[in-house]
Symmetry: C2
Subunit: 162 residues, 2 copies
């Protein structure tokens, strides 16, 4: 069976060492963490960690089981599939040669991005969306000269069943 990308969300107690325990579990089994996001929720004692990883379904079952056993891990959910909203943010620093600026701005508008910094020779663009959208934007900006990229990794929230 092929490895598939999975998105896992955990609610964890906001204490020193929790991120290390969660990422240590992946490391000890040799699973790569492709992206990770972790930050406190509306309750400052609880953080939400979202991890994307590539694994076979039977490995995934094992990961979920082991995560649920970890100290400080309150809840684990597999967010792969259509019932969750999945979004990512990227900051992209691109060379802004005068002759390329109109084209860059046109691309940014098409992707509903925002210019969050404009310098003499660069723009910093903020964009949100699915992973494919951000990949597509990077491909379009590539010929202009991408200087730096920071991506948040995927965040996911279940749509309420109502």
């Amino acid at each position: 069976m092929n490895k598939e990308k999975h998105i896992l969300t955990m609610l964890v107690e906001n204490e020193p060492g929790v991120t290390a325990r969660v990422s240590g579990l992946f490391a000890s089994r040799g699973y790569n963490i492709e992206t990770i996001c972790g930050a406190p929720t509306a309750d400052p004692d609880i953080s939400r960690i979202t991890v994307t990883t590539k694994s076979r379904s039977e490995q995934l079952e094992q990961i979920l089981k082991n995560l649920r056993r970890l100290i400080n891990v309150v809840k684990v959910r597999d967010m792969t599939g259509a019932e969750a909203v999945k979004r990512e943010m990227a900051l992209i620093c691109v060379k802004a040669l005068p002759e390329n600026r109109p084209e860059i701005i046109r691309i940014v508008e098409t992707f509903r991005g925002r210019l969050v910094d404009t310098g003499k020779t660069h723009y910093i663009i903020e964009v949100t969306g699915g992973q494919e959208k951000i990949d597509a934007l990077l491909t379009l900006l590539e010929p202009m000269g991408i200087k730096k990229v920071a991506r948040s990794g995927i965040l996911a929230l279940y749509r309420e069943s109502d």
Copy 2:
């Protein structure tokens, strides 16, 4: 001396175990990772990890030194201060009672947020900005009933010096 919030950005090799080593370093010294973001850069072999932590300046020096010694860590930079663009993304699931909807939509527009999911009894809102902006939005939405929050943690990119 008081603890201050610091934003650290690392370029690391995209290999299993790197996130665990980085977060393990914080854990072994008892420093809390307040937020963490990690994802590949434009170069798929290199990931960027951004961590926010509260620490005293002399502790910070030590953390930076130890991070630079870690295997697979290519570069470490302290992004605290005004020379970096700092942005965060949040997904907020809020109760959408019919009588509250116009007010929620007004608030979302004021914060330049986006409705990314609308259900019979909820909205999911996406918003980006500084940490304070997102905190302020959460405070305003609180009376409507916040069901769930996922925050990316801070992403930071240096403004090019030009």
